[in-house]
Amino acid sequence: MEQSKVSLQNTSENARSETPLLRARNVSKAFGTVQALSDAEIDVYRGEIVALVGDNGAGKSTLIKVLSGAHRPDAGEIVVRGQPATIHNPNDAFDQGIATVYQDLALLPTRDVVANLYVGRELSKNGILDRRRMTEEANRVVRQLKTNLPSVHTRVRHLSGGQRQAIAIARVVHFGAEILLLDEPTAALGVKEAHEMLTLIEHLKEQDKGIIVVSHNLAHVFRICDRITVLRHGRTVGTLIKDETDSTEVVRMITGADLL
């Protein structure tokens, strides 16, 4: 097993000569006596989708929270665009172009799409809101997403789960995020909406973003990702290239069945 892990890593690294957008190495994090992460690692390149998979409690959420600045790691190294980065809080992460879209989204239900896209970063001229420019920009952003919304003046409360998620992603992309951490983006969605969400994520890949997707749904993982990083008991047990593996192998690595 250890042997196979090393060889897999080598394959993935040989395939790429450029610097990864984001690379995390030897990340450890303990909560009291619980070692949530030990020697976790992951990297993502420009224009790439990496799936982060693992059983419940494998440390996926913890790793995402470390990368997004919500948790401070006990040890480990995070390198962004080739430069060692210190990420102490979500603002540090945002400054580095790292943005997380969590399942609960942090949207404002009673406000329209425009207000949600610009919350906290509203455009104004001489102290007066530039509502026209915000509406125009919002229309452009929504068109880019290829999501069909009735109008950018629709309140988020009236949007479907998939549309809300699209708005949450559009918000971070619009403000310059290049590295996107998506936590279970399809979990709360119906079949058709999940399909639309996956198309949106592929679309972001075409725009040269680096995307890490946490997902339980292997069918979704196999549809969109380029590589799959598997966590077990807080450790990265391997990174597989999608085209060189299948779901049986991934499941085996997730459960550790190959060790038996």
């Binding site: 949207l107 404002l108 406000r111 207000a115 104004s124 109008s151 479907s160």
Partner: protein, 358 residues
């Protein structure tokens, strides 16, 4: 699963296909405006033909004006997800402090200086209580209901204590101009139509109210701070995650409401030229109810300045109509209760309908 998909699709199509009219009629302000028009027609037909006519309307406006000063910041506070019960206490404290200051310093200071001083003291009372409310809720994370109930009693108790059972009425004569001066009187002589329509007789508080309405509308709809108020009330945590300074929004909201309540007290002191500690009663529930009737949600994130204005108009129209129709005034509160109940029930119904739609 397939069912669920279809449901989602129809919602989107429905919203897209909604006609302009339907969307306009779905707005609380438009609904309320229609209700006010129908109400006026009914009252006029029912035995009070002069209701809101040229003679009544200016009087009506000057009656509504002091409450209007408070309903605007209260609506903004509600939109930001908070509310303030202490306004009546603040207004009465401001009234009593003005009376007390006049009784101590009358004749010892220049009249104009004394008026400036009493106004400053009145406003300071509002500033201090507003700051206490705001800091208690944001720094100490105290519950706004209990906090402002406590400061209401403290302010009201202080007012009663300072008054000591007396109502002072030795005021500087020109102090009454704050409420009674009619700035358009001279204009009325040049333009007779202003006089005919009695617009030239509008007293100062109507203009203060107009300024407060305009400023409230401007801040809420045209500034970043206004959008931050909506964001804070819509989802406090979500807004904070996106860099909105939610505590600043709340603190400023309480201070503005406190100072507006003090201003309301100043207007009443000037109008009555006396300073009893029970000058105002029920102000807090009147303005909160008006804002809620106008579409502000107690859960925050919703409401508008126009809605609050119309809501307050409605409440005062009910009072006026009761008097003009010669109905027993004792029933006024019953009618107000029915109106508030209907407004809240309507809100709940339309939200439930929106929820089952999806």
């Amino acid at each position: 699963m397939a069912m669920k998909q279809e449901e989602i699709d129809t919602t989107v199509d429905e919203t897209a296909g909604e006609s302009r009219w339907k969307r306009l009629l779905a707005q609380r302000e438009i609904q309320l405006l229609l209700v006010l028009v129908v109400f006026t027609i009914l009252v006029r037909a029912g035995g009070a033909p002069g209701f809101l006519g040229p003679t009544h309307f200016p009087i009506f406006l000057s009656q509504v004006a002091p409450d209007m000063l408070v309903v605007i910041p209260m609506a903004m506070l509600l939109i930001g997800g908070m509310f303030d019960l202490s306004v009546t206490g603040i207004a009465n404290l401001s009234v009593v402090l003005i009376g007390w200051t006049f009784s101590r310093l009358l004749g010892q200071l220049d009249d104009t200086l004394l008026i400036i001083l009493v106004v400053a003291i009145g406003l300071t009372a509002g500033l201090v209580v507003g700051l206490i409310n705001g800091l208690a809720v944001t720094r100490l994370r105290m519950n706004p209901l209990m906090t402002t109930l406590a400061t209401w009693w403290m302010a009201q108790g202080a007012a009663t204590g300072v008054a000591g059972g007396e109502s002072r009425h030795n005021f500087v004569g020109s102090f009454r101009d704050i409420a009674r001066f009619q700035p358009l009187r001279d204009l009325g002589e040049t333009f007779p139509f202003l006089q005919e329509m009695k617009i030239s007789t509008l007293p100062m508080p109507v203009f203060y109210a107009a300024i407060v309405i305009f400023l409230g509308w401007l801040v809420l709809n045209r500034t970043r701070f206004g959008w931050h108020i909506y964001a804070t009330g819509s989802d406090r945590q979500g807004a904070a995650l996106n860099g909105v300074n939610v505590n600043r929004v709340t603190l400023i909201g309480f201070v503005a409401t406190g100072m507006a309540a003090a201003m309301c007290g100043i207007v009443w002191a000037s109008r009555l030229t006396s300073a009893p500690p029970n000058t105002l009663g029920g102000l807090e529930l009147r303005v909160i109810a008006a804002a809620v009737i106008g579409g502000a949600a107690l859960t925050g994130g919703e409401g508008s300045v126009l809605g609050a204005v119309l809501g307050l108009f409605f409440m005062h129209m009910i009072r006026s109509a009761t008097i003009q129709l010669g109905l027993p005034v004792y029933w006024e509160f019953f009618v107000l209760g029915v109106v508030l109940f209907t407004a809240v029930a309507f809100d709940a119904w339309s939200k439930r309908r929106a929820a089952t739609d999806r």
